[in-house]
Symmetry: D2
Subunit: 307 residues, 4 copies
């Protein structure tokens, strides 16, 4: 991206590059949330936006920061619909593997493992005791593979190992994201059919958790939970450059800022003070949304049996 500012949200990449061609956009305003649907359709746009070709849906509900229970339900419902649309065509008896990425022991990185724990898993029942389930129910399994620094094994190696035994028809991966804007942290969910790509996001897809690398559709669901300290400072400098007319020096100033930050803030993240409860809320919303999408009409029956 021209700006050099890192974001995991396609919506933010688009905001920074509003005039690029090869992007289809649609925004739906609901009473308490905004749903934005972005489709990156060609390679040039993908490169400029630093995001793979594919669909990106963003649910944003600013009021979520007040923790209203009924909005949690609405958000789960909306996520469920968007997710359902994204895997339209998946067979009723398909096997789905849910992968919760991240480090459970670091609050701001624990979204994936917490969601994975709350998924209604049915694979062991569909395999060994299919009769206890009502009609045809999807075969769902769920893992939290941990992170390289804790396991000593590449996350993707573990997921590959699990895939070989569980043989899923589709994978849903959940991860914490980085945003450019602090205000998005407790209010936004992104889902995409491009899966998860390491680093730059384009090129090198073989190492990612995506359909190219795994041979089955991979849907990724993410929530921005951190803002990088560098991002914040660069934002401030951009604004200052705007207001002071120091534009000639802006790149130089950013270079200095990056140097100061990398010396002082290597391992720092910027999070909301109440990150603990935000991660708890969001993992509940997402797990419920996934469970609803995967089990559809059988949701209540499965919940009774499994949860």
């Amino acid at each position: 991206m021209s700006s050099g500012i890192r974001t995991d949200l396609a919506l933010e990449s688009r905001e920074l590059n509003p005039d690029i061609e090869g992007v289809e956009e649609q925004t739906e305003e609901r009473e308490r949330m905004t749903i934005s649907r972005i489709k990156i359709t060609d390679r040039t746009a993908a490169e400029k936006l630093d995001k793979p070709i594919g669909k990106y849906v963003t649910l944003d509900a600013p009021e979520l920061s007040n923790r209203p229970l009924d909005l949690f339900e609405q958000m789960s419902g909306a996520l469920s619909e968007e997710l359902y649309n994204m895997f339209a065509g998946l067979k009723d008896d398909a096997t789905v593997l849910v992968v919760g990425l991240g480090n459970r022991s670091i609050t701001s990185d624990s979204l994936g493992p917490r969601v994975a724990e709350r998924i209604y898993v049915t694979r062991h029942v569909t395999e060994y005791m299919p009769d206890v389930l009502p009609g045809t129910v999807r075969s769902v399994c769920s893992v939290a593979p941990g992170v390289l620094g804790v396991t000593g094994i590449e996350t993707m190696e573990i997921v590959r190992g699990v895939k070989e035994y569980a043989k899923p028809d589709m994978i849903i991966a959940i991860d914490a994201l980085a945003s450019r804007r602090a205000a998005r942290i407790n209010t936004t969910i992104q889902l995409t059919d491009t899966g998860i790509s390491p680093g730059s996001g384009i090129g090198n897809n073989r190492k990612g958790l995506n359909s190219e690398a795994f041979g089955v559709p991979v849907i990724a669901i993410g929530v921005p939970l951190v803002v990088h300290a560098a991002t914040i400072t660069q934002e401030v400098i951009s604004l200052i450059a705007d207001k002071t007319g120091l534009h000639g020096d802006e790149e130089k100033l950013k270079g200095l800022a990056e140097q100061v930050i990398s010396e002082n803030l290597g391992q720092m993240v910027v999070t909301p003070k109440d990150i603990d409860s935000i991660v708890e809320d969001m993992s509940g919303i997402i797990a419920t949304g996934i469970n609803m999408a995967l089990f559809g009409k059988s949701f209540e029956d499965v919940r009774m049996l499994i949860a």
Copy 2:
């Protein structure tokens, strides 16, 4: 076992069957702990004790329930020595996979995952940046595969998937055990070179996490953390039968007790009130013992780099 009382400790099986042949025993009394070494040498003894042929070492330190920090260190040291003896001959550059079995979300079942998290993993360093490590250091990785009810995947399938990518020369598995005696719960560690066997313990070894099924040595480390309610009641009945001379009715009484318990106590476990801190202490003791045994002289260097 003749008594019908379930225990995961070879020491307790032996106590119940003190006269069986085919067992070698040795007990070492130290100042603050007792180390018991049992070797089951033939198939008949294995069947009678309901434990596979192999070595079983039990460390018992009753004073541990007072939580003295210096005894924690002694216990880690003793575990490290016994573990080291058990895998004598393992090459200095071998790859070791530590598997933390159990359900992290259930305190009494969370020992394995908690130990797995505290292992100093080096595999990613030995593979990609070997120069930062001092001399030859073992390549250690660690996973907590979760349990069937949470993942929908057989634990052993996940471990097999991981094994194929990590290619370990040895596996160390950690699990919570059931004991017959409540007093052992916060004071005892068992290690064995027979790995972990499902259900009955003998026969059906193919489904276990052991050398027969996995093709590499598997050492299991366990701590008794629950006493089954049925066990307690049966103990009481045995004692009562002893004291009342009602031996004629003992089996009938036990049958009645089992019926009452299965109707009322299906999913109940008996744990110490302070199980939370016991699991925390024990996972620290065991992780340190394993780290010391695996890294030996390089322990401090690895700790500085990794922990």
Copy 3:
């Protein structure tokens, strides 16, 4: 109680003593729950039931153990109604102190502190910024005083200290209870206007957390979360005595059982294996029930502002 079996539930005391006079009873069957209302009206009954004179309401929903979210809401709603009836007459601008008893670090004893954390507190708002609240809203504050072994201070001394500054018109206390029957553990809530009484339950009320000692109404809400090991064994012996006709020896057998248990099980408790999620669920149900009862029509407004 004649049986010598300890229970914190008036309903169970009554079951053991169905024919005592001085007790009014009413049972209401709803679709998914049973509400039992017991009133102990005289001193003789209080002594026989080992419970103070007053009202006891028990909500029981066996299906709760399946964790259905909609039943959580029904249970919160029913608790709210019963609680509201119990403090009928409390002024709209009254100050209420919620006290979460127990030890947060011991899962089976952490219900009180967890509920206390989830109460919508308004006292600091009603005192310093009353205008931000809609109309007249109760002034609610909440503490978790800890337990003697962790603080070194009698719980009641801390509550008294808080009471002097917060000056509540009513106190609601939440605590984990012991039950005689394992099946009640994840399905039952008791509320009573008799507060919490130490030990035997009658006599010595001065040391309890009740209206006699604190000079304001005290409502106690409790959930059975442990079954004492002794209780279980005694149950088994009773049943065995029934079935074997050994009634002559029953008391002797119980004496022996008690001896065995006190030697072996001093600090053991019997809990469901999934006590972690039960306590989590129940603390949510109770906190919501209390919040609904205290804020009534203003519930949603307060939630938006506070939670």
Copy 4:
């Protein structure tokens, strides 16, 4: 302070104002840590440094971020000595109240409650069973009063209520601090005999937790665990102003930065990614340091009895 940058560390205030009179300083370099002792001796210096008159000791061990267990012990030992010197003269049978400030449910704010939980409390033993303790042992109690937003009661009101019943001769308060420098977050402990002062730090002492307000000595122990986002950005701007010679505009730039941040980062904090384990480590180090200082020669005996 002239700079407008907020810090809770006297050491940092001094660094920003190195030439002010009325300050005595001493720095002791040890093998693995630096101990800095600052004494603010007059009112003018106190105002300029924005810190009350009194003693401030800072322990700094940069290597702590590698989590070496032996340095944990050294740090506990050094804290114990400095603390002991600060309350020299306290009677052997004095009563001490430890107060853990902060919100247990927010990781970066949970240091105080976590330390409070690990203090060896003896007050209930010295009061009711003095004979079980060896010789004369201090009577220690400990509370975590919670925060206003969770309890609805001013923290100081709760502490006052507890003080009236526990009647301590000295109070030790533990709290998380804010630092100007990210590098100090996992390496520094400050202790001071000035207690804890709200807001500006001078003036308005009546509302603080200090000897003036409580009538007994109050020692505060703190660890910097957050860096305010505003601080970081201002640091970057200062450095940029230095390097670009834009000093004329520095104050204007900082004003702009503050505006951007207050609009975007109201409730954000900057913490290390591994704040969870840092808080865990630091609460262990501090609790051990306090326990050693309070019980001295009886430390081991008390630990055996109490912990």
